[in-house]
């Protein structure tokens, strides 16, 4: 539980951070909240020679609303998300999910950028980003580029980030007013990763589902967008048979690992239940 030796850097600007990461190459890791990286370092599963601490980079902070889009700086903490009036009004599902992440102490340090960029299938925010159609702005030696959340995740801890690149901000289109949302997370205890979780954002028209997106957390080596499941509920009033169909469609793309949270069969089964419960709750919350 003691990390190996490393050098610590604390750049004051985004340009300096990007340059440092480019110069130091594969031996360097950016440090945001540290809640994934530091435990890995303590177990010596990660042994970066350099840590580039992003806390002094002012450009990476802040939440700004632009009418139809909200831009969240990568170093925004989960606590800041929870405290933000802008988020409460436009993206309440982020607050619902953030409140389910670990405990207050972790949320004071843990950042949204670290949560989405690390590629940990247990993290909660990535599935939400997919459901909300978020775009990730990346900055690296090759300059700036945008990658949709849906194309970002390639495998457990493998993402579209190129060497030396960091995530700088996330822009999220604001869902229509009156949309319904829910994040259903089954976990064994506070601080645990999801045994299974489902995120739903939907709109209703005339008592029927008009639009719907469903995301899944910790049920595959990457977060998943359950497109078939979402399609199965569009145009329905979410009757029992439809819910079961959606759950089955979602279960069909799940491939969780067996671990202390339960065997594969159980995690898929409760994954389906989380989908059904999230759909019902989201529909119940529409205006």
């Amino acid at each position: 539980m003691i990390p190996g030796p490393f050098s610590y850097h604390r750049p004051a600007s985004l340009a300096d951070a990007v340059k440092l990461l480019a110069d130091l190459g594969d031996d360097a890791r950016p440090l945001a909240g540290g809640h994934s990286l530091v435990p890995m370092m303590k177990l010596r599963l990660a042994t970066p020679a350099h840590l580039v601490d992003l806390h002094d980079v002012a450009d990476l902070k802040g939440i700004r609303g632009y009418g139809d889009t909200v831009v969240i700086g990568a170093m925004t903490t989960q606590h800041e998300l929870l405290a933000s009036g802008e988020i409460r009004q436009t993206l309440p599902i982020l607050q619902e999910a953030a409140a389910l992440i670990a405990d207050p102490q972790v949320r004071y340090c843990g950042t949204i950028g670290g949560n989405v960029a690390n590629g940990d299938p247990g993290n909660d925010m990535p599935a939400l980003m997919m459901v909300l159609g978020a775009n990730f702005r990346l900055n690296g030696p090759g300059g700036e580029r945008d990658v949709p959340a849906n194309e970002f995740y390639q495998g457990a801890y493998f993402t579209a980030l190129e060497p030396g690149e960091i995530l700088t901000s996330i822009s999220i289109p604001v869902p229509p007013a009156g949309h319904g949302y829910a994040y259903e997370k089954l976990k064994r205890k506070v601080g645990d990763y999801a045994t299974a979780a489902a995120a739903v954002v939907l709109t209703m028209a005339g008592g029927k589902v008009a639009t719907c997106a469903i995301g899944l957390t910790n049920l595959h080596e990457t977060p998943l967008l359950a497109t078939d499941a979402a399609n199965a509920v569009i145009g329905t009033s979410l009757d029992a048979a439809t819910l079961k169909k959606a759950a089955a469609a979602a279960e069909a793309i799940m491939a969780p690992a067996a671990d202390a949270r339960g065997p594969v069969e159980y995690r898929k089964h409760v994954g389906g239940i989380m989908v059904m419960r999230a759909l019902q709750r989201a529909a119940g919350g529409t205006a």
């Binding site: 539980m1 089954l186 205890k189 506070v190 045994t195 671990d259 159980y266 409760v270």
Partner: protein, 806 residues
């Protein structure tokens, strides 16, 4: 009397003696971060040691190469079994009469076993060094399943025992067999089963878990070469035993060993035994001449030092059709891991498991226990219970529920029908114990009335019908548990550790101003001894508890004692405190008689001093007597006011309690909710009701954790898969249910103040209450017994197996 004269009530209250909800005096420093724990000990030039550990469960160690490690800046030494052999310490004795490798000697026998000890100038360098030690292993087939330990072709684990057909506890049947222990009358019991109208038989497992105190095991060893003295600061629940053990195995004169247990962050049995870290730190200090600190991390704690339980109990009850029990037969397969390092009194290889007849009047019983070796960590400590008592309580309480189910009787009614009756005490159990006192019917009925048990059963019936009609996916369980503990080890006639009788001690010194210091052979790890011990003295001698300083843990100053575990502190040391206080009081009475110029028989003790009978104004306070003890004692009497008592208890104490858990389970996810938990405890005389309540809350929380998910689990190759708090279930305040506590008071007839001990009761009684609730919930779907732990996925699995989930 003027208005300023305190009333008798005010004088009593001012003492804050027994029965007072006195606030914990130790919390002033704990809540302000001013405690002094082992890791706070920092000595000049202190070095740090850390272990290279085995990644394999079973392997031959072909070679250890420390060359690269010694090149790491700051690394000073790498100690291996070969180094330890030069001082004859490669192996150490265990409390259970076995021997244990300190560092891997030719083989490793469990994952994370200690292989080499790296000593460096700081902890970081030590860890860097660990990563540079090259160990070549030749993997051997691992033995994980205890049920396969005695197979004909099972791998040989302990090559050091080759050809030894006898162990510390008698004959060994197999190369992986440790002992067989039998108690009771086999023929009579077999006859009872032959004649029985109804029998049940079930294999009831109590899975492997871990005490996991907040503070892990640790020590600082400092050897003074000039004086030839070794000082050890350590997380020791039994400091004096550690001193004696170190003296015996390191061949150091005992007066040259100073053991200091400072503040301890929880023990729960984890800190009773001796671990390789202690030996290695001591040897490293002797070799380097510098102090050496060893501090376990969480993974090391969970995977290497002292697991608990791992008992597999095949249990049979014989009964009449009307539900009167007529016989009990239990066979236990005990998985001890690679070495038998159980922390039991030496003559008791399965602890006090023969309390397994529980609270019931079994005319006959027979018990046999087979201990086996496997490729798992050694231990078998009493995790917040007297030795193997929680296993016994779980066994009988689960079995009684199974019998009730078979008979179609209510489990509470079945218990009431079979309880030992109040007039039967002192009661001699079929497996050899003498229960000192009890009133089980009153406690059980109080539980049933307070919780409105009958209404809960009615609700359950309705809910089951609703479930069958498809109106709900939730099932409801009522977990009844009625436990009898056996604590307070113990009488010298049946208890010793390595030949030392399990007495305990107290020394009280009163100062001239009416204050005093009291020292005991026990060692608090959070129990609040500094608070409660002073309360006993306050009531006994009439000096305010605030004026009594309690000190434990330093073997140079404290009288010899056997330490704190197995709920023994109050039954044994608590008695020593009362006896020492009474010696003080007796001398005080002589001094008072002299000063008041009466015969001492003419005096009576009155709250905080002595009064002349019939002359209420002739009074001398204990405070004044203390002063007099230092300047005007009667002629011929030595000055001073001190006393020592070493108390050898005449019997154990037998706390009991009635618990009820009300639980709802969602069959689709297996998620449970503990709707209500009621715990009635009878621990005899209550010294501090607030501390008792705190103890019950803590013990119930641990019981909840164990029953509902906490386990040390190994995969088929012997890898520990629950080696951190990510996977080892440690509930937070959010998951922890609300606890309702209650009590009855049945004082122990043989204890000077009638107290019985309580710290472990809630763990002992809690586990069966939770497990019975889960089992009760599922029983109407056709199940008889579902093994612990009852975590979400296993509940769902149970529902699925019973056809309740598609």
């Amino acid at each position: 009397m003027n208005d300023m004269t305190p009333t008798r009530e005010q004088r009593t209250a001012a003492l804050e003696g027994m029965g007072c909800k006195r606030k914990r005096v130790e919390d002033i420093r704990f809540t302000q971060g001013r405690g002094n724990y082992v890791d706070d000990v920092k000595l000049p030039g202190m070095l740090h040691g850390d272990f290279v550990r085995s990644p394999h469960a079973h392997a031959r160690v072909k070679s250890i190469n420390a060359e690269e490690a010694l090149k790491v800046p700051g690394v000073l030494a790498v100690i291996t079994a070969e180094t330890l052999k030069t001082v004859n310490l490669a192996w150490m004795p265990t409390l259970a009469g076995d021997v244990q490798m300190v560092l891997a000697d030719g083989k490793v026998l469990f994952q994370n076993q200690e292989v080499a000890f790296v000593v460096a100038t700081d902890r970081y360098a030590a860890d860097d060094g660990i990563n540079k030690v090259e160990v070549e292993y030749e993997p051997l087939p691992p033995l994980v399943d205890p049920f396969k330990a005695m197979d004909h072709n099972a791998p040989v684990l302990r090559e050091d025992l080759d050809g030894k057909t006898t162990g510390a506890h008698g004959p060994r049947k197999h190369h992986n067999h440790i002992f067989e222990w039998t108690v009771g009358d086999k023929d009579l019991t077999d006859a009872a089963f032959r004649k029985a109208e109804v029998t049940i038989k079930e294999m009831i497992s109590y899975h492997r878990t871990h005490p996991s105190p907040l503070e892990t095991c640790q020590c600082v060893c400092s050897f003074d070469k000039v004086k030839g003295e070794l000082t050890i600061w350590g997380t020791f629940q039994a400091p004096h035993v550690i001193r004696t053990v170190v003296s015996l195995i390191a061949k150091l004169p005992e007066q040259k060993i100073h053991v200091i247990a400072p503040d301890i962050g929880g023990g729960f049995g984890n800190k009773v035994g001796a671990y390789p870290g202690y030996i290695c730190a001591a040897v490293a200090s002797i070799v380097t001449g510098k102090p050496v600190k060893w501090v376990e991390d969480r993974i090391e704690n969970l995977t290497a030092t002292s697991f608990a339980r791992d008992y597999h109990m095949t249990t049979e009850i014989a009964a009449t059709k009307e539900g009167k029990v007529t016989g009990l037969r239990v066979h236990v397969l005990a998985d001890h891991g690679a070495f038998d390092a159980c922390a039991d009194p030496s003559k008791w290889p399965a602890g006090f498991f023969n309390i397994v007849t529980g609270s019931y009047d079994f005319p006959t019983a027979h018990l046999s226990v087979d201990g086996v070796y496997t490729n798992k960590a050694p231990g078998g400590v009493a995790y917040r219970c007297s030795f193997r008592v929680t296993e016994a309580a779980y066994c009988i309480e689960r079995a009684m529920d199974i019998l009730a189910q078979k008979l179609g009787m209510d489990p509470a009614e079945l218990r009431l029908k079979n309880f030992i009756k109040p007039e039967q005490f002192p009661y001699h159990s079929a497996l050899g114990w003498e229960y000192d006192s009890g009133d089980y019917h009153t406690a059980m009925r109080k539980m049933m009335e307070t919780t409105d048990y009958a209404a809960l059963r009615k609700e359950q019936t309705e809910k089951r019908e609703a479930f069958r009609r498809g109106e709900t996916r939730e099932i409801m369980g009522l977990g009844v548990s009625f436990f009898t503990e056996i604590v307070g080890a113990g009488p010298s006639k049946n208890c010793d550790i390595l030949g030392i009788a399990m007495f305990d001690s107290c020394e009280i010194r009163m100062h001239p101003t009416g204050a005093g210091i009291a020292r005991m052979g026990t060692k608090s790890q959070g129990q609040g001894h500094e608070t409660t011990w002073a309360q006993i003295i306050a009531t006994e001698i009439g000096i305010p508890a605030d004026n009594i300083q309690v000190e434990e843990g330093n073997t140079d100053t404290a009288p010899y004692g056997l330490g704190t575990y197995g709920s023994r502190s109050t039954p044994v040391a608590g008695a020593a405190i009362a006896m020492a206080a009474r010696k003080i009081k007796a001398k005080a009475q002589m001094i008072a008689a002299y000063k008041l110029e009466v015969h001492e028989d003419d005096l009576e003790f009155d709250i905080d001093g002595f009064r002349v009978k019939g002359l209420p104004e002739k009074f001398m306070s204990m405070k004044d007597i203390c002063w007099a003890a230092y300047n005007s004692v009667p002629p011929g009497m030595e000055p001073g006011l001190e006393a020592v008592s070493y108390y050898d208890p005449p019997n154990m104490t037998y706390p009991f309690g009635a618990y009820l858990c009300v639980m709802d389970i969602d069959v689709d996810t297996g998620v449970y909710k503990v709707r209500r938990f009621y715990a009635l405890d009878d621990c005899g005389t209550r010294i501090n009701p607030m501390i008792i309540e705190g103890q019950v809350h803590g013990g119930l929380t641990e019981a909840f954790a164990i029953a509902m998910g906490q386990e040390i689990r190994y995969d088929d190759t012997g890898n520990v898969v629950t080696g951190s708090f990510m996977d080892f279930f440690m509930p937070t305040a959010v998951e922890t249910p609300h606890w309702e506590t209650d009590f009855t008071v049945t004082p122990s007839p043989h204890h000077p103040i009638g107290a019985k001990g309580v710290g472990e009761s809630p763990n002992v009684g809690g586990v069966p209450a939770f497990s019975n609730a889960v089992n009760d919930a599922f029983s109407f779907l056709g199940s008889t017994h579902i093994q612990m732990p009852h975590d979400f996925w296993r509940n769902w699995q149970a529902a699925k197996n019973l056809g309740a989930v598609a």
